[in-house]
Subunit: 366 residues, 3 copies
């Protein structure tokens, strides 16, 4: 059972070939042999690296890498330094994207089906696609459907009548409850739970009566959910995560939430019930969004913010309550001065009182 990405590689390639792959331009030795890809600090001779963050530009001068991917338009001075150090350069429009292609070139492995382990347990009426990799201790309940080339790692649970699309990769100990629909090429990391009951109770005379959560969850194509994420099934209707959205670890997605396409939801964020996010929304880490809101397309919310009202499309906000991000930066800059401000106000009050007394005296005198 070995169908995962190989972490090392014996591939060799000329720098020119890599440059062609990423539509880049070589500055240096086009015929250089490149044997792998690594971080700026870890790279060894023969390897190619890239600059992930301008913060690390100084690391470049010490790198042992033989080549580096950089953005077109980077300072000539930097190129000169690298030339002096005999580091070849590949100039591209989007270095991070080019880097992702190079990593994929060296590390992507073709999918190889492992078959169905005799230690898996598969219920009656389950429809199985072809070329599957079903590991030991997987349980698939009655009438579920598993698409072609799906990988189910050990400890995965697929509920009754749930459908898993083609080419999904489901890591160990994932739980997908009954009647859920998972699209194609979805990646689910370990410990993630899809279709748990939403948090719905009708309180009467101080007691909380469970509202049966009889809706479902739809996870569309090309979604990736991190580890230990929770996605609750709808009370009625469905919770939806649309095509291409990526969710980090330990995120909470409540019942009846709808997340648009190509969103990024960073670790430990939480979205309360029935809130709808448009496409391309970004929630940074530990953000909380209250229920029944509409977050417009392309809105971005800064880390640890608390969103308590609808956000228009394209807004960038921070804070709790949220405000425009630039305003929030000014507020945060002012905040440490608050005790001093309070002191200043008291002093101003005293000075004004003194002035008033002087004037009153004068009035009295005059």
């Amino acid at each position: 059972m070995a169908n995962k990405v190989e972490l090392s590689s014996n591939m060799e390639v000329r720098l020119k070939q890599l440059a062609d792959l990423v539509k880049g331009e070589v500055r240096g030795e086009t015929q250089l042999v490149i044997t792998g890809v690594a971080g700026v600090r870890e790279a060894r001779p023969g390897e190619i690296t890239f600059l992930a963050n301008p913060k690390y530009v100084s690391d470049l001068s010490n790198t042992r890498a033989s080549a580096v991917v950089l953005a077109r338009g980077c300072p000539e001075e930097l190129l000169h330094t690298l030339e002096t150090g005999k580091v070849s350069v590949v100039l591209v429009e989007e270095p991070y994207f080019a880097f992702s292609q190079i990593v994929r070139f060296f590390h992507a492995q073709p999918y190889r089906p492992l078959g169905i382990s005799p230690l898996a347990s598969i219920g009656k009426g389950v429809k199985l696609g072809k070329d599957l990799s079903i590991h030991p201790f997987v349980r698939i309940e009655e009438h579920a459907q598993i698409g072609d080339r799906v990988t189910l790692y050990p400890g995965t649970f697929i509920g009754e009548e749930t459908e898993i699309g083609e080419d999904c990769l489901i890591y160990p100990n994932v739980t997908i409850r009954e009647k859920i629909r998972i699209g194609k090429r979805v990646i689910l990391h370990s410990g993630t739970v899809i279709g748990s009951d939403g948090f719905g109770f009708a309180t009467r005379e101080g007691k909380h009566h469970k509202i049966l959560q009889v809706g479902t969850v739809e996870v569309e194509d090309d979604v990736e959910l991190g580890a230990n994420v929770t996605v609750d099934r709808a009370a009625l209707g469905k919770t939806v995560i649309k095509r291409g959205t990526k969710v980090d670890n330990l995120v909470q997605i409540a019942h009846n939430v709808v997340i648009g396409e190509d969103c990024l939801i960073v670790a430990q964020a939480g979205i309360s019930g029935s809130t709808e996010l448009g496409h391309h929304v970004i929630l940074a880490g530990q953000v909380g969004v209250v229920g029944h809101l509409k977050i417009g397309e392309g809105a971005r919310v800064g880390a640890q913010s608390g969103v308590a009202q609808d956000l228009p499309s394209g807004e960038t906000v921070s804070g709790s309550p949220t405000m425009p991000h630039r305003k929030w930066l000014r507020v945060q800059a002012a905040l440490p001065g608050l005790p001093e401000m309070r002191k200043q106000i008291r002093e101003l009050e005293k000075k004004i009182q003194a002035l008033e007394e002087i004037l009153n005296r004068k009035e009295g005198n005059s």
Copy 2:
């Protein structure tokens, strides 16, 4: 293995019968045939719906539902609009509670025992109740006790000497460690961990020495814990979650915490060690409570708040540090004005200086 709630139903019932069930009054056709229950937007002809949130009142005018549950005392205008649209109404005291009963009417299924899977592993001396549903890949350790009609889904672990009460429903991949006591009718969602070691270390010369966590956890009757919740066992003594309390996903409950009856703890909240919550406390999402506090009965804490001192009964607080919720609203409203306030203070200082100079000049002149 199919003992979970059916998500669709072929039931049919007259509107009058549903109204009787929820002690409501029909305005419209008492003999209407109702075939199911659905959300305002999703409901089709023949279905009944309800108004979950006043925000959605406008959706009612477009609903295709044949009937709707509303609160007695709702605006006559709304009733008139619905009458015009041929939507029958059931008026009740508590629409949300009535709705929960109607969902249950259409969707609740009687429990059917599935027996004990030959792929489960059951230790020596385990006491098993009757009419159980024990799925494949469940492991029950020595001397545990499982009550009647308990469902243990795949991947569930029950530790040594742990007791599970009657009618519990434990979803896939739940871990319940050794010597834990779970009451009756408890629902535990997937990935939840009960009885992990509390975070207790004695630090000496910079090294952290583990304090064995030799206490336990008691989860009383009718508690429900969401997905990926963590409840640590006590250092000594016990961590307790009392009757009827409902906990949402990804909540942290530390060692020796005591949570009263009928509390609601919303997603991603965290309660530090030895803190005690009274009955009917509500912690909103992402709240943090520091250790060794007492939170009084009926206290409510707003989302993302940080509770750092005891709270009296009945208080509603927000913020970090917490303050009365209404005060917090005013502080939050003032906060975006902080940079402007700082500017105003500087201007006031200048003006006062100018006034002082004028007066000084006058003094000098006079």
Copy 3:
């Protein structure tokens, strides 16, 4: 299968022997028979207790314990009260550490290997140490290495080529992905995931392209990770948790993070990608740290804080953005006064305007 800590004990020991064990001094009956250890409130006659928190000093006067561990230098008055109540005292330098030793004395159990369950699934080429305890439904993938005396509870997954050091204790439903290195005496609580893919995407024309995460994770000796923790594998290179660090439940550790030795990371904290923590750093509950930062040795961050810039060694900070903790306390104390301050500023403006008008009038008059 019963190799876990026994929660009760039939041991008996003289108080003098316990005092010798913890290098303490007895005030009272040295020959007292002690039968166990318990909390101040729960202790019964014959048991020894300790004072965990000065908050609970009043509980001591009601304890039924026969002996108590206290710090040298505690008030003579307290000692007198205990003497009157016939409670013997053991005086020590570090009561919490002494307590941890006493708990261990009564409750630690020697490790007893359970062997390898026939219901475990072990891949080709796996190297198994001796005296193992491998429970049912454990899956170990090809070419993994398991050190001597390792315990793997049910539902644990060990990925291909992963190495687990000696004496590790891995609780149920833990996932350790491929090519990870776990040191010796590491404790991993249930639901924890090590080596899930980091959250890395190159966005191009609004679509997020996965960057294969081809790095690894190293967890050094004596680390303990709580329940439902997530530790992502590096994009390239490795994510590292160094010797002796203790991590609480539901913590997120992103790709390429490096955590120093003997750190304490409290529940629900999150550390973003590539951030490095020095030794002895403490992050309190629900703290968030943004990516690519350096947190100096011994820095301490207060609960719910958001760290957005490098922290020097030894700093104690709070807030978001963080500021020195004492300053933050003053800011938090001032915060509820903000609406009042705004009002005061308005009043000051009016008063100054009035003064200006008086002066202008005078100018005009003169």
